[in-house]
């Protein structure tokens, strides 16, 4: 267990360094000299104004999504829960898209985050209304449907404003390109709130993840704690969406990777998922930028492969594995 808690930060730092070193304009060697104080004005500018905020936003988004996924899986007692499968993620996107289309707040991170939070609450609440008492698999299928409705609504809104389509495509799939200090400033206060909430929530999550009666017996006020936990998850997802769009499946990947090693105790699980999520997004960003160099671009400007595409491909594989395992567990458990 200790070993994992050392390995994860190291992994995260490695992924961040890798993401810091690659990019289209400045070579890795030049970047290294700039880090150690050398290099020219341009290199240092690229490093400090483009690469560093991009990596920071990536780490923050990953941590937020890792936390959101862990909390959702505990509270819903569902190994399949994640922002993508509960309507929270696509609700947040819808909120942000609606804000952009109707209010023109695309360049105001704070307002965008609030719009995303409202949308995320809408998505989560609609799933709750439809599927409160379903078993894990059915909840997940209903969640996919709710997400599909919300994603479709975002696309419909976007077709009303075709000039936003390009930026929006990168947003729907999740991308870190063009993230600046402004985005980081919009992200970190929310992240701080979520991290503090996670610290407070960890013991309660252990109880909520088992069952309500047991939690009540040991004196936990189940409903307020559950609502607080869900609120924290929505907030984390919305902050991540407002900063970088839907970086899919990180909220599913990170907790599952970590839980296999660390077991189910949330006081270890939460920080480890946050670290794993951060490492995952930074690593995916590195991979996306490295791949961009290999892919021919037909456009006049080089935009790059969105980070979310890499995580979505990885995450789809994990979702398949988890869904199979959950279906077999359900059959063996005789719950059908």
């Amino acid at each position: 267990m200790r070993f994992t808690l050392i390995v994860l930060p190291v992994l995260m730092v490695l992924a961040a360094c890798a993401a810091l070193l690659v990019g289209s304009t400045v070579s890795p060697a030049d970047t290294l000299t700039a880090i150690f104080g050398g290099g020219d004005e341009l290199t240092r500018g690229v490093l400090l104004e483009l690469r560093v905020p991009r990596v920071l936003v990536g780490l923050g988004v990953g941590a937020a999504l890792g936390l959101a996924g862990t909390i959702l899986q505990a509270v819903l007692r569902n190994p399949l829960a994640s922002p993508e499968v509960t309507g929270v993620g696509s609700g947040a996107v819808l909120g942000a898209v609606a804000g952009t289309v109707f209010l023109g707040i695309a360049d105001q991170p704070e307002a965008l985050t609030i719009a995303a939070v409202l949308g995320g609450v809408l998505g989560g609440a609609s799933l709750w209304l439809i599927a409160a008492k379903s078993d894990p698999l059915r909840l997940a299928v209903l969640g996919v449907l709710v997400s599909a409705v919300l994603a479709g609504a975002s696309l419909v809104l976007l077709t009303a404003r075709p000039q936003l389509a390009g930026a929006a495509a990168r947003w729907l799939v999740g991308s870190l390109s063009g993230r600046t200090w402004e985005h980081w400033n919009g992200l970190w206060p929310w992240l701080l709130v979520v991290v503090l909430a996670a610290v407070v929530l960890a013991p309660a999550l252990d109880l909520l993840a088992v069952d309500d009666d047991h939690a009540r017996t040991v004196g936990l006020a189940v409903v307020p704690w559950r609502l607080t936990a869900l609120g924290a998850a929505v907030l984390a997802t919305a902050a991540a969406v407002a900063a970088a769009g839907t970086v899919s499946f990180v909220g599913l990947l990170a907790p599952h990777a970590v839980r296999r090693v660390l077991g189910a105790e949330h006081r270890w699980l939460l920080p480890a998922s946050a670290l794993a999520g951060a490492a995952c997004v930074a690593g995916a960003d590195f991979a996306a930028q490295a791949l961009t160099a290999l892919v021919p671009s037909s456009g006049s400007q080089r935009i790059g492969i969105p980070t979310g595409a890499v995580t979505a491909l990885l995450g789809a594989v994990v979702l398949v594995v988890v869904a199979r395992r959950a279906s077999r567990a359900q059959v063996e458990g005789g719950s059908r």
């Binding site: 399949l80 993508e84 439809i130 599927a131 379903s134 078993d135 698999l137 059915r138 997940a140 299928v141 209903l142 996919v144 449907l145 709710v146 599909a148 409705v149 479709g152 609504a153 696309l155 419909v156 976007l158 077709t159 009303a160 075709p162 389509a165 390009g166 929006a168 495509a169 990168r170 729907l172 799939v173 991308s175 899919s248 499946f249 892919v295 021919p296 671009s297 037909s298 456009g299 006049s300 935009i303 492969i305 969105p306 979310g308 595409a309 979505a312 491909l313 995450g315 789809a316 594989v317 979702l319 398949v320 869904a323 199979r324 959950a326 279906s327 077999r328 359900q330 059959v331 059908r336």
Partner: protein, 323 residues
Amino acid sequence: MKRSVVVAALALLVVCVAALCLGTPIVGVNRLPAAFAGETDLEHAVVVLLRAPRLVLGLLVGAALAVAGLLLQESLRNPLAVPELLGVSSGAAVLVGVCVVWALPIPGAPLVPALIGAVVGGLITLLAARRAVGPAAVLLVGAAVNAAMQALLLTAVSLSDSREQGVLFRYLLGSLTGTTWESVALSAPGLIALLPLALLCVPLLGVLRLGDETASALGVRADRARLIVLVVASALVAIAVAPSGPIAWVGFLGPHLARRLRPNADPRVWMAWSALFGALLVVVADLAARTVLYPVELPVGGLTALVAIVLAALLIRRRGEVA
């Protein structure tokens, strides 16, 4: 039975005439013959060159998607098995999108890439879901495959020229905007050839409904029969998706309405009614999409998706048919 056929024919006629007449400018019903004869230049152009191909393609695509949906649902014994949740539509859309973005010189585009994409998408889902137990798990695996495909497609969109992006977005949602007689000519022969093939699959469906064990007791190899049905369904989806994009959830609504309205009919009757409902649905939705917010044209797939997914959620909730 006879009365319902008359009602259906009347509904089809009314919808077709409405689709030809309504819009901007409105063409009176009494002027339609003149417009078809080419006596008035403007109305001839609007009705014959703009609205008629759109109507024909809408009818064909709707019928094909609904029949494909019925084939998938009956062969997998899962009322929610729709092309959208099995990676079939998105597979087709991905390859078409990629071919457009990188201008790949594939012969027979967009039909051939759509066909390959649909079959590959469906096969990936089936292989990935092979060891999953129960319909809900299969759907979830399909949703995962679908998510990966969507990510690829959005990546292609974001790598493309900004002039193409609006068009690709529309395509992503499914839209009949800009249909010409050429796009009808491209997909009509394939669809018309495949619909009878779908009818030939009906006996297989009847056997598959009984369950795999009974089917093998009757001397039918269930997995092989299912594969045949799936390939026919994928081909239908692919040819429908190639010109218009994945018009969402018609493959769910059509068969579902058919089953609801004729609960005890045999699959052949269901297929006919599914095709009819699918065709009506797409044409009506398209009419709404192009007139409600004129001059903004909504993508028709957005409308069909909103209607259908609400119904699907109600269905799972009320009857628990999936899990």
